[in-house]
Amino acid sequence: MSGHRAPQAAPGRDDAPGWGDPPTPGIDARALAAAVPHSIWVLSPSGEIRDANPHARARGEGSSWFSFLHADDVEAVRREAADADRAEPYEITCGLRGADGTFRRHSVRFTPVGGDGPAGLWIATATDISDGDAIRTMLETLVNEREQALAFRSVIMEDMAEGLFTVDGEGRITSMNRAAREMLGWKEQELLGLPAHAVVHASPRLDSADPGTECAFLRMGSAGLSAQTVDETFTRRDGTTFEVACSVAPKGAGRAGAVFTFRDMTEVRLAEVETRHDQKLESLGRLSAGLAHEINTPIQFVGDNTRFLADAYRDMLDLLLVYRACMEPALGEVEWSERTRRAQEAEDKADIEYLAAEIPAAVSQSLEGVERVASLVRAMKSFSYKDSTEKSYADLNEAIETTLTVARNEVKYVADVVLNLGDIPDVLCHRGDLNQVFLNLLVNAADALKDKDDRGTIRIGSQVDGDTVVISFADDGPGIPEDIQQSIFEPFFTTKEVGKGTGQGLALARAVLEQHSGSIEVRSTVGEGTEFILRLPVAGEQDASA
């Protein structure tokens, strides 16, 4: 229950326009009182009703005004009335009983008339405000909610893990949250009003002649472009830099300025590097088992042949000793025929024909085995080529052949490989990364052919297309269903059984190709096969004008 003094210029005063003297003929106070849609009473100071207009009388019988008052409000109204001894108009809101017996909220104005002091009469006018009251309550709720929402939003903005700052139309910082302060190392008041570009972009850029136009970031804020996400490098207060993914959104509603939110990508980038490393280790683990077999096989037969050669040498030596004995002058009188007989016997024992035929073969096969191991070791060395951070020119045909050598054991039981390598120029690239991509594609092709009834075929081709080298890996395996063709490049997507693949192979391939400004696409028909097509710009990056 609230009561308050009526404002001095309350509406409905006698001096309001249109109500001057003399009164309009035929219209007296009673007629007026009967016409207004409000209740009007003439009351004694104690609240006895001396007169009432029809609207008030319609509320029913009652000698005291208080009989219409809601019980909850009686106390407050009496307090207000007691306070009103200065005989000035005042207003209260209270519940009044209507004709139907229900109570509704009213604003009641008490105006003293007929002399000074407590002895005088009062005119009470009551206006039904219950509808307005509901609207006000609703408004109050809305205002409250809005305040809560604003508070909530500022808490979120302040405490969210992403950095956030806002700029005005000129790109000057107008606010920033805690994460932004912590990541950048500045206090808010140190940066307010400074150009965001100058603050967060590395100082080398500031030195450039026209930093503003170079910075797409800055243009964004003022030109009212639509929201976008960009990868950026931000500079901390101490001059160190860090990678961020930054999203820029205009403030909207025609207001100049923008909201920047950004996330420190250092950890994410590290995780990406680690994932790539894991994938390399995974394929290395698989390769090493195959490589072991490829090495163990020649070692086995080189060992066997060498052992045979040792035996053969002993047999030959035995034979030689017999020959020598036959030549011994000390034998003196022994018949020539006897000497021939002894030699013949020794030759038979040594199986000289067999030795003569087998020893050269054993030697050449041993040398072949040694060469096999040597070439495998060379290929391994070439395959595991350690990239420097800079790209270098490499012969991709040779890289493909190297990959084929190290992965031979993965492929040879399931497929024949047909190479169709064209005359292609050296490509500026990270060779080690591309080796890995070739390996992943080769192993995938071999895996796809594993369940085929007969041997499959893997075709690897390379050719030039303008400034681009096009490399293709095709298999005649079961193909990739259309509905998952788009998913295959996503990290962790795999159709291989658990433990057989991490689903990183093609994701890595795409990442590597993107790094080379190239592309990888898949064409596959179920039942016919799958072809991966790689495009690599010879210059290592896309020509800017292209």
Partner: protein
């Protein structure tokens, strides 16, 4: 008597050339054939008698696992040796259940020769070829439903090393397979008398799971008649009880082998009984303990010999039913197995009886090694029998 006949299979002709040359020294002792394809090998096996086949694992077309599985079905009398350059454990285990012995490339001719010569030895005095015929076809030891539960539990991803050790030490089939594998060269050099526990610890859970899984997949689909199943169960319980009692009977140095021998003591009985349902026309005489006239024990010993288990274990199994008079200096593996077996015969876990041996048991218990221990042996045997019962009861889900 014709010369022993060996067949070598490898898809790499250089390997065959090398083997031919390095084994040339044996040309007076063996007949040898060298082929580069599984199909060709099967053809030759169909044409003449062979004693040993040595095969590569990964080959185009029919691979080693398929070839050897075929051989085990069609020519069980041919001892099967794997000679492989592959090192990945999963594939290894796949073939390990198809072959008897495993050699890795590179292996020198002496090693290969030694293995072949071992396999040319037939252990059964009275029924050498029949025992080889029956034992050669065995690829896994039959597993009862309650033990299958244990194996399945072991295959669960959350199985730990302690579980693996416990399961392996109580499982006849797994114990045999692990000893067979550890004695080959696939897993590097293992000490000759390695315990099942140390083998499991050295292999690690995933490898043991792979071995158990391969054996599990191989187990015969056939169901046995209730009578046969009860006999299998009784033999199994007797084996586990004897192995439990080994904790006390065998000296610490002999315990690993004595426990293994105790578990494997009736392996011949198990495979002969279980095989009844598989092969029509074979006849098992439960009273005489023979299959097709071959004593169960001869089959068991031949099997353990084919699988290359350590000699003390094979000897102990071979001599389980032979009265023993151990040296006072030590009981040894064989007498320990005999003593524990006789003790268990007095319990609920008793196996089929071949008479009373009270006098012999008394002498064995008087052996200094047992005498010094303050143990009531009959009570210990009852306790071991109870432990075997509780192990053999089905795992509560």
């Amino acid at each position: 008597m014709s010369k022993p006949h060996a067949l070598f299979v490898d898809d790499e002709p250089r390997i065959l050339d090398g083997l031919r040359r390095s084994l040339r020294g044996k040309r007076g002792d063996w007949d040898m054939d060298f082929v580069s394809e599984g199909a060709e090998a099967l053809e030759l096996l169909g044409q003449s008698r062979y004693d040993v086949i040595v095969s590569d694992m990964r080959m185009p077309g029919m691979d080693g696992a398929e070839l050897l599985t075929n051989v085990s079905r069609r020519h069980p009398e041919v001892a099967r040796v794997v000679l492989s350059g592959h090192i990945e454990p999963e594939a290894t285990v796949q073939v390990a259940v198809a072959g008897h012995r495993f050699l890795t490339k590179p292996s020198d001719a002496e090693t290969l020769t030694a293995v072949i010569e071992q396999l040319l030895v037939l252990t059964s005095r009275d029924h050498p070829h029949e025992a080889r015929q029956i034992a050669g076809g065995v690829r896994a030891i039959p597993t009862l439903p309650e033990h299958t539960d244990r194996i399945v539990a072991l295959l669960a991803p959350e199985a730990n090393l302690a579980d693996a050790v416990r399961t392996a030490m109580h499982d006849v089939g797994l114990t045999a397979k692990l000893l067979q594998l550890s004695n080959s060269r696939f897993f590097g050099a293992q000490p000759r008398n390695a315990s099942v526990e140390s083998i499991v610890n050295a292999m690690g859970v995933p490898m043991v799971q792979a071995v158990a899984g391969a054996g599990h997949a191989l187990r015969p689909e056939s169901t046995w008649s209730p009578t046969i199943e009860e006999h299998l169960r009784a033999a199994w319980r007797h084996a586990v009880a004897t192995a439990c009692l080994m904790d006390l009977v065998a000296s610490p140095a002999n315990r690993p082998q004595a426990q293994a021998a105790a578990l494997l003591q009736d392996v011949g009985r198990l495979v002969c009984l279980a095989g009844v349902a598989d092969e029509a026309g074979s006849h098992v005489d439960l009273h005489a303990q023979t299959r097709d006239g071959v004593p169960f024990r001869d089959v068991g010993v031949e099997l353990l010999h084919l699988w290359g288990l350590p000699t003390p274990i094979i000897t102990a199994v071979a001599r389980r039913d032979t009265p023993q008079t151990p040296e006072p200096s030590g009981l040894g593996v064989a007498a320990a197995v005999r003593a524990a077996h006789l003790l268990i015969q007095g319990t609920r876990a008793a196996g089929p009886d071949d008479g009373t041996h009270e006098q012999e048991l008394k002498q064995l218990l008087a052996h200094p090694q047992l005498q010094v221990q303050a143990v009531d042996w009959f009570e210990a045997a009852d306790e071991a029998s109870r432990r075997a019962d509780s192990w053999n009861s089905r795992v509560q889900p």
